[in-house]
């Protein structure tokens, strides 16, 4: 029965979330694992985030300029870029890129740990596998995605500045002035970071959940990886609407 199975899975995911929170103890070992994971899933995601941000900035600038120049408001392109990036595009696209790059890797790693007895071995050594293998990845994602969102915005704005000023020929002064006037630190920038932290938590939790409970086979790992990307991406898009409605509605 699909409804019963879905309810059971949601219940398991909720319990898993509480298990992750309960297992998150600030020990020295946890700190070392956390730093290692921030490097693995955060720092190593930086190149695709920078490239992605730059091209989104370029596209948005080009399309925004084409639309605004008709009304003689070409200088407002940086307002469109700033608001669009901070409020919606940067958190969502960073979340989606992070899921593709790091969420899939978390699911695959935990699935392989299950298939190769690593999770069983931790339990048999009296070590909580959730605390050792899942909690550091979860908190690494919660901390990394907001930082990556900041880099995404910076790359997008710099690319946009280059295109608007050096290619299209707009004035540099109004470009920065309009953006400063329109983009609010608390209502836009901090909200982007809040949303990103939620998306990071969703990405890590979904990926960890499906990987941790994957069938202990190669096929099970492959299915878990696909599920992690699809389910986490859909959840990020859904939660983005909910959070946008809460913050900007």
């Amino acid at each position: 029965m699909p409804l019963a199975a879905t309810t059971r899975t949601l219940g398991q995911a909720g319990l898993f979330f509480f298990a992750v929170l309960r297992a998150s103890r600030p020990t020295g070992d946890f700190g070392r694992e956390l730093v290692r994971e921030i490097y693995k899933i955060g720092a190593r995601s930086l190149p695709i985030i920078l490239v992605g941000g730059a091209f989104v900035g370029l596209s948005l600038t080009l399309l925004g300029y084409k639309a605004l120049v008709t009304y003689g408001a070409a200088n407002q392109v940086s307002a469109l870029l700033g608001l669009g990036m901070y409020r919606e595009l940067a958190p969502v696209l960073t979340g989606l890129l992070f899921i593709g790059r790091a969420g899939s890797s978390i699911a695959a790693e935990l699935g392989l740990m299950r298939a190769t007895d690593q999770i069983t071995a931790l339990g048999l050594m009296g070590i909580d596998p959730v605390g050792k293998a899942v909690a550091p990845r979860f908190w690494a994602a919660v901390l990394s995605v907001p930082l990556l969102t900041g880099f995404f915005c910076s790359a997008g704005i710099l690319a946009s500045y280059f295109e608007a000023v050096h290619v299209i020929g707009l004035d540099a002064g109004p470009f920065w002035q309009v953006m400063r006037d329109v983009v609010d630190f608390r209502d836009d920038f901090l909200v982007a970071l809040y949303k990103s932290a939620v998306f990071g938590a969703i990405a890590a939790l979904v990926a960890s959940f499906v990987g941790y409970f994957a069938e202990p086979t190669i096929e099970g790992t492959s299915i878990a990886t696909t599920r992690a990307v699809v389910n986490a991406s859909l959840l990020v898009l859904m939660f983005n609407f909910v959070l946008s409605a809460l913050f900007f509605g």
């Binding site: 392989l112 190769t116 007895d117 071995a121 048999l124 050594m125 009296g126």
Partner: protein, 266 residues
């Protein structure tokens, strides 16, 4: 007169089931301190299910499991505490692939003790020395051969000096030389460290020379318990078929039909 030491493992009237299917029934087993007990049986006979009960992963459907003088706890902190006193060598080794050999062996020590790093490093060297792999401390698990990885996993299982060692198919995937090395280690470590060992395997001929007692599981129950010599002399047709590896006999070669109640997970 000194009192006899308390048994390390006591199984009484044990029935184990998975998914509602009985895998093992009427299991009676007492393991005394210092013994090396081989639990033998064909693939799918329920050996690994028995191991799951000994480590508290599987709760009995009936009967009792006592390990190290206390009933098996049902989950929670008590179970984690007990597991620190049981070393388990898994068939798949279970080495953490993103940690080096030394980090793997030191993992239980770092997690369960407050020892300073320098002492943990020294203890790790000693454990690796005990399995003949001191030089491999900085290697990653992917760089090890099957036999070396098994010995690293053995060193890690011994890290907290557990009084009871359980080996799950320790020879699977190993060549004859590596098998001989691992089995001689099992015996030597058992005697020098004062352990008690349970070896779950289907490798009869490699295991018998180091075992004090053998238990054979087939048809969902224990069909033989005795010394290796008594096992060799057994006239039970099931035992004989298993020892000789004969395709014809009471143990069917084909898989049991799905839904049958006597099947088992290996």
């Amino acid at each position: 007169m000194t009192e006899p030491a308390a048994p390390i493992v006591v199984l009484r009237g044990l029935r184990l089931a998975r998914g509602g299917r009985t895998i093992l029934r009427d299991v009676e087993l007492v393991v005394q301190p210092g013994e090396v007990v081989a639990v033998l049986g064909p693939s799918g006979s329920g050996k690994s299910t028995l191991l799951s009960a000994l480590t508290g992963e599987l709760e009995p459907a009936a009967g009792s499991v006592e390990v190290l003088g206390a009933p098996m706890p049902r989950g929670g902190r008590a179970l984690l505490d007990l597991r620190r006193r049981i070393g388990v060598l898994l068939q798949g080794n279970g080495l953490l692939t993103d940690l080096s050999v030394a980090e793997n062996v030191g993992l239980p020590l770092r997690t369960h003790t407050d020892l300073p790093d320098v002492l943990i490093r020294r203890l790790v060297e000693m454990k690796l020395h005990a399995v003949g792999l001191r030089a491999a401390a900085d290697a990653m698990p992917r760089e090890l051969s099957g036999g070396m990885a098994r010995r690293v996993a053995l060193a890690r299982a011994l890290a907290l000096d557990p009084p009871l060692m359980i080996y799950d198919e320790p020879l699977t995937g190993l060549d004859p030389i590596a098998s001989g090395v691992v089995m001689s280690l099992v015996r030597r470590l058992n005697d020098t460290l004062g352990l008690t060992s349970i070896v779950v395997t289907h490798h009869v001929h490699e295991t018998m020379p180091v075992a004090d007692r053998a238990v054979v599981i087939a048809d969902g129950r224990i069909i033989f318990a005795g010394t290796p010599g008594e096992l060799e002399a057994s006239t039970d047709p099931t035992v004989q078929q298993f020892l000789r590896g004969a395709p014809d006999g009471p143990i069917p070669f084909d898989a049991a039909p799905r839904g049958a109640d006597t099947g088992a997970h290996a």
